[in-house]
Amino acid sequence: MTIEKTKNGTELCLSIAGRLDTTTAPELEKELKDSLEGVTSLILDMGKLEYISSAGLRVLLSAQKIMNRQGEMKLRNVNETVAEIFEVTGFTDILTIE
């Protein structure tokens, strides 16, 4: 997994590529923990995300909880297979997918 970061004022965009699984999820968790302070808009670009397991979903859920308190979180370019995982797990209802 690779994470590309772009910050514009209080807006933060993270492009996540590759696999978000048990092995890599802690990296994303750390990235969010280190950079969410003061952020009011978080955009996660999932265009190059190929795979997500429950470890990845957990990180997304806790990011959503943080952003509910300090602004908003949006997911972009979610591919069909990842979207299906969100659907099955009810994440479609709690995440904002553009």
Binding site: S53, S54, L57
Partner: protein, 535 residues
């Protein structure tokens, strides 16, 4: 034209140049004068230097045959063979074709063993040459055992032709773009894991084969002779102990390669083949393992350059490869267990090596003496504390190539997924299904890794089976941890808002959604979880 070798009444007569109506009478007189008054029982006509023979010449041979029934023509070139065949000579007497002559000058040496070298003669073919004067018998033996191994299920190459190479003979094999594992390990370090896996899988395959009685020699007798000679160089008591330890190793009718190092396993395209079959035998795996230890570590314990020169990779790589292969072969990462088996193996190794260097001095006496002293001290140390060479062999199920056994640690996730994906890719599984299966496998594996043995750790296995029409993939997870039935776990409420939702509980839920079937059983202290997915 000349004759030689009249021991036992066998006369070899060389026919040279042209034999036609111009000189046939002269040739005949010459031959008869040489045989006259001798006790001739059999005649061999060596035709290797014969360029042409006319009907006048053939009549000379017929008259010889009338007097001496036992007449053979050898080394006949293709043109003359055709003449002999047309005239019916090949039915009247034994006619042996000449061996094709192959030159290996300037050819790349792709392998070298104690008994000869292997050269690449063109893109698709290699020739194995033999140092031994009795090469033909050796070639014949190797062909026979290679054929037997192939029939019994070992992927191997069989020579299709015997040729002359200089003063000796060689056997020709078709090996398309073959690369030995030694070369892979030396030149492509990123294929290390691949080499270990394939090397061990082939080893298990060989050892799983039962050989019909009498087809292959038992390796134990040979080793017993070697250690008996070594015993004479040891203090009496230790020498006796060495011999009795080896004698106590049980006989076995399972196949042993006998020289299983990385030069003897080659990659041809994507096929892995075993070569150099002349040491094929039956016996307990310890007799295979000690030769492996020697090749990777033993021979070069005093001088690490030896393995670099022979295998092409450094001593550290050789030692690591030996350790990792033994670990995979035994199906354990328990270092204490690996060490225990290694010590038993080393005991036989030194028993063999000390005898070997005594009988094959290198010419550098001081070095030989130092090497032998090192091996002796190691052997004495081992004999002081070992009371048996027996160890638990991996069970039959460990030989199943569709079963992976490893430590239940989340660091091993990639190994598990690689193992699963290799099998799915072989079955043309659609990418989306493969991804879903990956998720399910990850969830279950990580669950076992985190909870089954917590706070400690333990082993688990995964078996992957593909069967049925339409094709179904079955995944069986087995661990010996706390009894835990994931099917009894309550599903998370997926209608709750983000704030209300708990972090966790999703993995099992997703697995249930993804898989077509899930079964759980607790038997003999084992959690057995079976997942089925239609492909």
């Amino acid at each position: 034209m000349s004759e030689n070798n009249h021991t036992d009444g066998l006369f070899t007569i060389e026919l040279t140049g042209r034999i036609d109506s111009g000189n046939a009478a002269e040739v005949e007189t010459d031959i008869l004068s040489r045989l006259n008054g001798q006790n001739v029982k059999a005649i061999v006509l060596d035709a290797s230097a014969l360029d042409y023979i006319s009907s006048a010449g053939l009549r000379v041979i017929l008259r010889l045959k009338k007097t001496w029934k036992d007449l053979t023509i050898e080394n006949v070139n293709p043109d003359i063979y055709e003449t002999l065949e047309m005239t019916g000579f090949t039915e009247m007497m034994t006619v042996k074709k000449a061996y094709r002559v192959v030159s290996v000058e300037g050819c790349e040496v792709i392998g070298e063993g104690f008994n000869g070298k292997v050269y690449r003669i063109d893109k698709d073919n290699v020739v194995k040459t033999y140092k031994n004067a009795d090469a033909l018998a050796e070639i014949q033996h190797e062909r026979e055992v290679a054929r037997l191994a192939l029939i019994l299920g070992v992927p191997t190459a069989i020579s299709y032709d015997v040729v002359r190479v200089g003063d000796s003979y060689g056997s020709v094999f078709e090996l398309l773009n073959a690369k030995s594992f030694s070369k892979l390990l030396a030149k492509e370090p990123d294929r290390y894991e691949f080499c270990v896996r394939e090397y061990v899988q082939m080893l298990r395959k060989i050892h799983s084969i039962t050989v019909p009685q009498g087809k292959l020699p038992s390796v134990k007798e040979k080793v017993l002779k070697q250690v008996t000679r070594t015993a004479e160089q040891l203090p009496k008591e230790l020498g006796e102990k060495l011999v009795s330890l080896v004698r106590a190793v049980p006989e076995s009718d399972h196949m042993i390669h006998g020289d299983y190092h990385t030069k003897n396993i080659v990659l041809c395209g994507d096929e892995v083949l075993l070569i150099d079959m002349d040491t094929l035998s039956v016996g307990h795996p310890i007799f295979e393992l000690f030769r492996m230890y020697n090749a990777f570590v033993g021979y070069s314990e005093y001088d690490p350059e030896i393995v670099l020169n022979f295998q092409g990779y450094p001593a550290e790589t050789a030692r690591r490869f030996w350790h990792d292969s033994l670990s995979a072969y035994l199906g354990t990462t328990d270092e204490a267990r690996i060490k225990d088996v290694e010590d038993k193996v080393r005991c036989v190794s030194y028993g063999n090596l000390i005898d070997w260097i005594t009988r094959h001095p290198t010419g550098d006496e001081a070095k030989d003496e130092a090497t032998r002293a090192l091996w002796k001290s190691e052997l004495v140390e081992l004999l002081g504390r070992l009371d048996s060479l027996e160890f638990d062999l991996p069970g039959e199920e460990a030989f199943d190539p569709d079963r992976l056994e490893l430590d239940a640690l989340s660091e091993n996730l990639d190994r598990v997924l690689d193992f699963v994906n290799e099998r799915l890719e072989g079955a043309d599984c659609p990418p989306k299904t493969q991804m879903q299966i990956n998720i399910a496998i990850e969830e279950i594996f990580v669950n076992i890794a985190h909870y089954a043995y917590a706070p400690g750790t333990g082993r688990m296995s995964l078996t992957v089976k593909l069967s049925g029409d339409p094709l179904e993939a079955t995944f069986i997870f087995v661990d010996r941890g706390k009894p835990y039935d994931p099917l009894k776990k309550e599903d998370p409420d997926i209608t709750l808002s983000a704030e209300e939702r708990q972090i966790g509980g999703l993995g099992i839920f997703m697995t249930k959604k993804i898989m077509d079937r899930m079964d759980y059983a607790y038997r003999d202290g084992q959690n057995i979880l079976t997942l089925v997915k239609k492909l």
